[in-house]
Symmetry: C2
Subunit: 140 residues, 2 copies
Amino acid sequence: MLAKKTKYGIKALTYLCSRSNNGPIPISVIAEAENISHKFLESILLTLKKGGILTSKKGKNGGYYFLKNPKDIPMAEIIRLLSGPIAMVPCVSLNFYEKCDDCPDEATCGINRLMLEVRDSTLKVLKQKSLYQLTQEINK
Amino acid sequence: MLAKKTKYGIKALTYLCSRSNNGPIPISVIAEAENISHKFLESILLTLKKGGILTSKKGKNGGYYFLKNPKDIPMAEIIRLLSGPIAMVPCVSLNFYEKCDDCPDEATCGINRLMLEVRDSTLKVLKQKSLYQLTQEINK
DNA sequence: TGTAAACCCTACTAAACCGATAGGATATAT
DNA sequence: ATATATCCTATCGGTTTAGTAGGGTTTACA
C-alpha cells in the first residue's frame, strides 16, 4: 500500500503542476488546498527538493516551484523518491538492489523470477506516465 | 516490499508442491528445509489452511498437504491471502475495496487512475502464473 | 534596519505493524 | 498411555508511520 507520505507528495506535485507559472507557492497554500498537515507536508516537499524535482525560495513571497519540467518527471521517479524501491523484493530492485538474506541462490529462486516480471510490468506503467500527464487527466 | 510472512509462505508452498504425493508433511520438516522459524511458519500455514489452499492432519504422522491442486492456485491468490490487497491504494482494490479517506472524488483522481493501471498489469502477471508453474521453474 | 513571512532542521510521540517466541489445548497413530 | 503433531492465544522488542513541537535561517519590503 502507498504510504500517505507518497500520496500527499503526489497530490502536492499535481497541485503545483496545475498552477505553475505563478512563481513560488508557499507550503501553507498547498497544505490547505490539498488538506494535508502543514508540518508533514513540509518534510515531504523537502524530500522532493533534495531529490531534484522541486526547488524553493526562502523568505517573504517564497515557496516551492519546479526545478524539472513536469513533462520530464516520470511517476516512477516520484514514487521512488517518496517510498523507495518499486520492486517487491530487494533482489529484483534496479535502484535499491540488495541480496535477500534468506535466499541461497537467486538464479534458481522462483520468487525472484516472478517478482522480476511484476517489477517490469509495473515499471512500464510508471515510467511511461509523466507528472504532467497525470495532472492533465485530473483536470479534464 | 513483500513481508517475510509472504515470502516464507510461498517457499513453504513450493516445497510442499515439489514433494507432494507423500502424504502430510509436518511443519518441522518444512521449517528445517526452508530455514524458517518453526513457530512463525506454524501461523503462516494456519493462514493458508483457513484460506482454503492447504489442509492438515493432526497427531502422529500428521502435517500439511494441499486441498487445492497447485495447478489451480494462481500466485495472486496466495499473495492476497498472506499480505492482503495487491493494489497500492484501497480505492482500486478488487478484493479489499475501500474508499480513500482523503480523496474527495475517485472519478477525477489521478492517483486512482494510475494505480488502476498498475494493479491491472501486476494482476495479469500474478493471475497467469500458478504455484505449480513456479515450482517447476525452480527445479529445472 | 526591523519584522513578518517562509523555508530548514532536529527531536519527539502515539499508534500500528512485523517477526518471533511462549505455553498450553486438542487430536491421533501406535 | 504416550509421543507426536496441529491449533490457539498472548506477549514482546523493534521498526515504521503519521503527525507534532520548537526553534534556526533566509529574504522581501516598508
